[in-house]
Symmetry: C3
Amino acid sequence: MQVTAKDIYSSIEAIRQKSPVVHNITNYVVMNNTANALLAIGASPVMAHAEEEVEEMVNIASALVINIGTLSERWIYSMFKAAHQAKKKGIPVILDPVGSGATSYRTQTARELIDNEPPTIIRGNASEIMALHDDKAKTKGVDSSAAADAAITTAQKLSEKYNCVVCVSGATDYIIEGNQIIKVMNGHPLMTKVTGLGCTATALCGAFAAVEKNYFMATAKTMAVMGIAGEMAAEIAIGPGSMQMLFLDKLYLLKEADIEQHLKIDDL
Amino acid sequence: MQVTAKDIYSSIEAIRQKSPVVHNITNYVVMNNTANALLAIGASPVMAHAEEEVEEMVNIASALVINIGTLSERWIYSMFKAAHQAKKKGIPVILDPVGSGATSYRTQTARELIDNEPPTIIRGNASEIMALHDDKAKTKGVDSSAAADAAITTAQKLSEKYNCVVCVSGATDYIIEGNQIIKVMNGHPLMTKVTGLGCTATALCGAFAAVEKNYFMATAKTMAVMGIAGEMAAEIAIGPGSMQMLFLDKLYLLKEADIEQHLKIDDL
Amino acid sequence: MQVTAKDIYSSIEAIRQKSPVVHNITNYVVMNNTANALLAIGASPVMAHAEEEVEEMVNIASALVINIGTLSERWIYSMFKAAHQAKKKGIPVILDPVGSGATSYRTQTARELIDNEPPTIIRGNASEIMALHDDKAKTKGVDSSAAADAAITTAQKLSEKYNCVVCVSGATDYIIEGNQIIKVMNGHPLMTKVTGLGCTATALCGAFAAVEKNYFMATAKTMAVMGIAGEMAAEIAIGPGSMQMLFLDKLYLLKEADIEQHLKIDDL
């Protein structure tokens, strides 16, 4: 399975043309960033978490993104309700298990969501992904410390058990479906100094999955685009403040030639 | 009724001098942006939504802004309570019916608010305004798709029924009070790629209405200032990230000469 | 007690090396900014407010920051629970009584928190600090209007009664512990035009207190770093939008020589 710059760009063009509605139930910290990133790539972001309206919002959406970064009981209830409706309607559900492994509340919520309403795509860092399956995994805050290798094994188990795509993101991003793996080597260390770029990747998975029914490919394309926009922003950023701003500019302006020039993908 | 650059600038000067407290009950996505825009124009933003404190906060405020972009039961209760107190106290109430038409929860909430505590100013895009009156109006996400013409007719009905100013914003902004209409042609397409600039316009209506008791004029002035700051930012922005930043810079630095040079208003 | 550029920089180096987890229960408006500021200085921010997880999150944290900027009943409950656990565990608790004095809900919440779980450090502007003790203090919104002198007297009383460090911030920042006072004269007026830089100072107190057990010194170092990064950003900012961005860049890039060149401290 090969992912070319041309493939990636054709998905971006599809997003820009169709402007798919991506419904987000996400954390307070990143709502503004992820809405802006979705706008920059060409999608139509909607944020709605009230149990009274999530089903109706799902009904006008082309993808549902669930991010557990700032939880509470009512929101969890809405996440289940929205995920159920999304699966019933047949639109992709993307889960970001932020901080899974850091507290049992997050770990349990993520596991129960996966068990009850298996998502289409799960994206997290190595320790978050490991915590979804391995009780001994440790998380330091919401950053990854566990080795990617162990996380890949967990990701494969999750993918097989729940028939979903799992992305273990980090310096190298691993996109996993069953025993298939695509590695994306794009990205820049300065990206880790901007809050919520992981959450942004998850949100953008929603945009790509809305226009590309091969969700394995959609996830790989998303991670490549994130990494490339990040590299291009880092070339001119002077610190994390300008990085956050320039990332959005680069995402918005991304051309096929940029992708061709930067793409580092290993899709054996 | 004519709106000159001088009139607009004198309102800005009044805001900068008096630094009116604008109390916002607004959505999570735009809280930071709208607080920054209010600071940039010279006002004092306050965000407070707890039912225990909204009345007291209204009592120290010169305007109340209600934005239904991310709803929940408790917040709706606080919105009613705050609006009631604001009307009792005699300060302007500005409503942004974000996503009205997208879900019945939002449409109902907006309609009930308007019915029970008629706001001073309502600002929304064409489909949001239409949804406040017309059951057949459709919203794609929170972006406008309905024709402005139909929205203007709805706006006129709302204005007459509730004795309020209605602003239908879009490429051209229509400010309506009874059968009077002012058109503002300022603005730039890149503004639609930054989340929450509509919400920012609504918040700034609060600042202008705090210093200008002719609310029809206050709304027109706000929309002109939004559009002009947007145009000036877009002249040097390279994408939506820098646009968001530069919009605040331009708003802060706005001079009478800038307004004179850019103002495109049709106030027959 | 003398605070040198070298001392300050050695704390920054400690933060960058240890990357301490700083647990924040903070307001919606500033979550993104404060997370980014903590990342920029080298710490690991975590935001969590659910009563189900705050104790566990405290257990992996090196400091707890409580900010009452957007309150509700459930969050207050979590604040008490988290503060109790932090004191039991022995990590510093930093309180930002945002808007204390503006509504009785905020004033009461702040006072009850201080009474029941005395924080390690309290940081607020003059009117917020005065409201913690003096029933006649008035706040206009969340900005300071009371004279610093009166606030210093209140701060000294609070410091003695609760055995804590109190910082009265403003054009000059006063760091108070018992009858000791350090004055920091760094900072720039443009900082008051960016929402949440006070909240950012409080969050950074968490990072410094995580690596410096002399909390009086930790607070003074924080305020110096805030002011210096602010001055350096203001030198090149063209308005509050670029100021917000450049502040993060400068914080991230801060060198010992920058501190030496800018430090204006009066630590008799």
